[in-house]
């Protein structure tokens, strides 16, 4: 573990100082009291905003690159109490020290055709949890995010390849946003749009007047990857959690119809899907890889929004048929020990949220998502009990403020489980230093009850910064 109290923090400060816009400002030239300044007597150079001619070669035009260096640390030295009465000491330490290159390619290479791709390469430096998980060696990772070809003609558009399909009006906690898999590998990723993983899909969109019918087929459904060893979300399980062993053909299919009315957008959808999170059980032999179960289910849903002046109301509702739930079975023979099992149930979920533009620069967003099992008692045997609450969900609150014509962006996020078993608070400040360079500082605090799934993050305080260059 690297001690964050040493050089990195001072380096962070110096880096920010060096990149501040002070170097560009000629303060002595700016009159203190602009009221008293006679603007009629000065000239205005019309070439003030003349931009240099772009010398980007034509073949590079479809590309956008983003280079980022991130440094993040858990800075609060504390102890975590466990349900069994034991406790763990948590030291201040760097968690993320990584460099990434994101490349995006978008090329409408012929009339009605588009090729789009994006990929990310990462290097994990000393101090990063991926470095430690790699036996203290620099690690690298490459991931293809998007790769699809699109053909649009007349009222139809077809996209084939790795892409995302997003359903639902609420951003961040919609009960309908379940088609893509996701990976919240660590706490620097708290936005769903950053956590989504693409799937290999065939998507067909048909535009008929004011209506859009969008359908997809997925012939190789993926599942949420297990936590990466060393990451804040990693836990040591009794058995190896592996990828799904495909001993049968899987496919997903779904369709959505969307249309707009004055002040509203409405969607209805239906799909045959697999739960993104695999269900694991102990191996038959008692050792080795856990057995994974891919559970298929039916989803029916609807979403709508309504704009009223500066207020936007969002509503999503989802009915899921045959979802797997974990239960604890108590054998009728008292001599036998209780055991874990799974049952299928139906689930109804809804997200209700609003967005409000406080003024020109400030906005606030709030959403509550809740999912409940339908008639669980009728579905369960008398000697079985649910392992989780009948109703689960979360609340999400976001505030944002854009200052200095958007150069300085403040974002405050508060996310909590419905029972307040775990709470996450984040404050981030993004400063655009130039048309290409930006720096973001972020503070994330987490709190969790002992019996929460996020108990290991209780009283954690993370601070960090990301420097990025986009061109």
């Amino acid at each position: 573990m690297t001690d964050v109290s040493r050089a990195p923090r001072s380096s962070l400060f110096l880096a920010v100082l060096a990149l501040s816009p002070v170097g560009f400002v000629h303060a002595q030239d700016i009159p203190d009291n602009i009221d008293g300044f006679d603007f009629d007597s000065i000239n205005f150079g019309d070439d003030l905003f003349a931009q240099p001619q772009s010398n980007t070669p034509a073949w590079l035009e479809p590309f956008t690159f983003k280079l980022s260096q991130q440094l993040f640390a858990q800075v609060n030295e504390h102890s975590i109490s466990r349900v069994d009465g034991s406790s763990d000491r948590k030291n201040a330490a760097i968690e993320n020290s990584r460099f990434s290159l994101l490349a995006r390619y978008q090329n409408p290479f012929a009339a009605g055709w588009l090729l789009q791709a994006s990929a990310q390469a990462k290097v994990y430096w000393p101090g990063d949890y991926e470095y430690r998980a790699n036996d203290d060696r620099i690690d690298t990772e490459f991931r293809l995010n998007e790769l699809f070809v699109q053909r649009s003609t007349g009222e139809n558009s077809v996209k084939l390849g790795a892409q995302t399909v997003v359903w639902g009006e609420n951003i961040g906690n919609s009960v309908l946003d379940v088609i893509n898999t996701s990976e919240f590998r660590d706490l620097t990723i708290i936005d769903i749009e950053d956590a989504r993983l693409n799937q290999w899909l065939l998507v067909w969109d048909r535009y008929i007047g004011n209506h859009q019918i969008s359908s997809f087929v997925n012939l190789y459904p993926e599942f949420n990857p297990p936590p990466v060893r060393g990451s804040p979300f990693f836990f040591e399980s009794a058995f190896n959690l592996t990828d799904y062993r495909r001993d049968k053909a899987l496919f997903e299919i779904g369709s959505q119809m969307r249309w707009s009315l004055a002040g509203s957008d409405i969607s209805i959808m239906g799909a045959y899907l697999y739960e993104n999170q695999l269900s694991y059980s102990a191996p038959a032999s008692g050792v080795g890889d856990a057995q994974s179960t891919a559970n298929d289910y039916l989803l029916l849903g609807a979403s709508a929004n309504r704009a009223i002046g500066k207020l936007l109301l969002n509503f999503d509702i989802a009915y899921s048929h045959d979802i797997l739930v974990n239960v604890l079975v108590t054998p009728t023979n008292p001599a036998d020990a209780p055991y874990l099992a799974t049952e299928t149930m139906n689930k109804l979920g809804a997200t209700l949220g609003f967005e409000y533009a406080i003024d020109n620069d400030q906005s606030i967003m709030f959403g509550v998502a809740a999912e409940g099992k339908l008639a669980p008692d009728a579905q369960l045997a008398s000697n079985a009990a649910l392992l989780e609450d009948e109703v689960t969900g979360n609340a999400l609150l976001r505030y944002s403020n854009n200052m200095r014509n958007g150069d300085l962006q403040l974002a405050v996020t508060l996310q909590s489980a419905l029972d307040a078993g775990s709470v996450l608070g984040s404050v981030s400040l993004n400063y655009t230093l130039s048309n290409n360079l930006a720096v973001m500082g972020q503070v994330i605090a987490t709190s969790a009850k002992k019996d929460s799934a996020l108990a290991a993050l209780d009283e954690d305080l993370r601070m960090g910064m990301t420097l990025s260059w986009t061109f």
Partner: protein
């Protein structure tokens, strides 16, 4: 990105580029002048395909010349719009960001209604979100703070047109501005309008020959000049005089924004289905249709 959500309520960016601030009122001669300016403005926003550059910075004065005290932040946009509705006063437009690289591909569809009782509608597409998102944008006539245009010092109030009945208009004098003969017209909002505007008084300098705004000074309720608009590069486009460079100086925050029309093409035939949500998400469709528009220009 939030500033994108609220701005560009009338995708008629060109409105702001072209001329007069909204204030205009009742005295006959002054009203006639401003009506003529607005008519010209509407002509140039209809069936239009434009490329626009928005630059913002903190400003200072050096050697008697206004200068940016920092490197300007530059946004480049492509915008397509048509007018429709009663008397052709409603606007439907699509704008797509082409620069800076970090914001490339962000698209916005806006429908602006002249009728105060009808809320404007705005949809935004961010590739990161992966979906089209409706934005609560209200109506430019709401009793609210005017929205910034793409985070710049220009606001929807600065680009608003019409509502001349809500102002008292006075020609203060005929004078010279930027070497041109101008009418100096003062606009003072009536009681109802005063509740909706941040300007207690506006003084506009209208070119007498070309009917284009060359300068506007905006004052707050303490009669302090809070903003100044300077227009330049006035050129004849399709028989209408257009200021291709507008600079709005915020004299309170010492920040300014320049809006430059890099390309202005009017009178083109815009397919009805182009100004829909499909254009935001279907890049293959959008680029094909844009290419057809470019061919009309060529």
């Amino acid at each position: 990105m939030k500033q994108f959500y609220q701005c560009l309520r009338s995708g008629a960016l060109l409105c702001a580029l072209l001329t007069v601030t909204n204030s205009a009122l009742a005295q006959m001669s002054a009203r006639e002048i401003l009506e003529k300016v607005e008519d010209a403005q509407r002509t140039t926003t209809d069936s239009a395909f434009n490329r626009i550059q928005l630059s913002s910075c903190q400003f200072g004065v050096r050697d008697n010349q206004i200068t940016c005290a920092e490197r300007p932040r530059v946004k480049a946009l492509e915008s397509v719009g048509i007018n429709f509705g009663p008397e052709n006063k409603d606007t439907r437009s699509v704008s797509v960001v082409t620069e800076p690289p970090a914001e490339k591909g962000i698209g916005m569809l806006s429908v602006t209604y002249d009728d105060s009782d009808q809320d404007n509608e705005t949809w935004l597409y961010l590739s990161a979100l992966g979906t089209v998102k409706r934005i609560a944008s209200g109506n430019s006539d709401d009793d609210t703070e005017p929205a910034s245009i793409f985070g710049s010092e220009f606001t929807t109030e600065d680009q608003d047109t019409g509502k001349l009945d809500e102002y008292a208009l006075t020609i203060l004098e005929e004078t010279i501005e930027s070497g041109r003969e101008v009418w100096k017209i003062e606009s003072i909002p009536n009681e109802e309008r005063a509740r909706k505007t941040r300007y207690a008084r506006t003084v506009q300098y209208i070119d007498k020959e070309r009917f284009v705004l060359l300068r506007a000074d905006m004052y707050d309720q303490h009669d302090r000049e809070v903003k100044r608009l300077i227009a330049s590069r006035v050129e004849l486009v399709n028989d209408v005089w257009v200021a291709r460079s507008l600079t709005m100086m915020n004299l309170v925050s010492n920040r300014l924004s320049n809006m430059a029309i890099l390309e202005i093409n009017t009178g083109i035939e815009v397919p009805e289905d182009f100004l829909t949500q499909r254009t935001l998400t279907d890049v293959a469709f959008r680029e094909t249709e844009l290419q057809k528009l470019r061919e009309q220009i060529d």
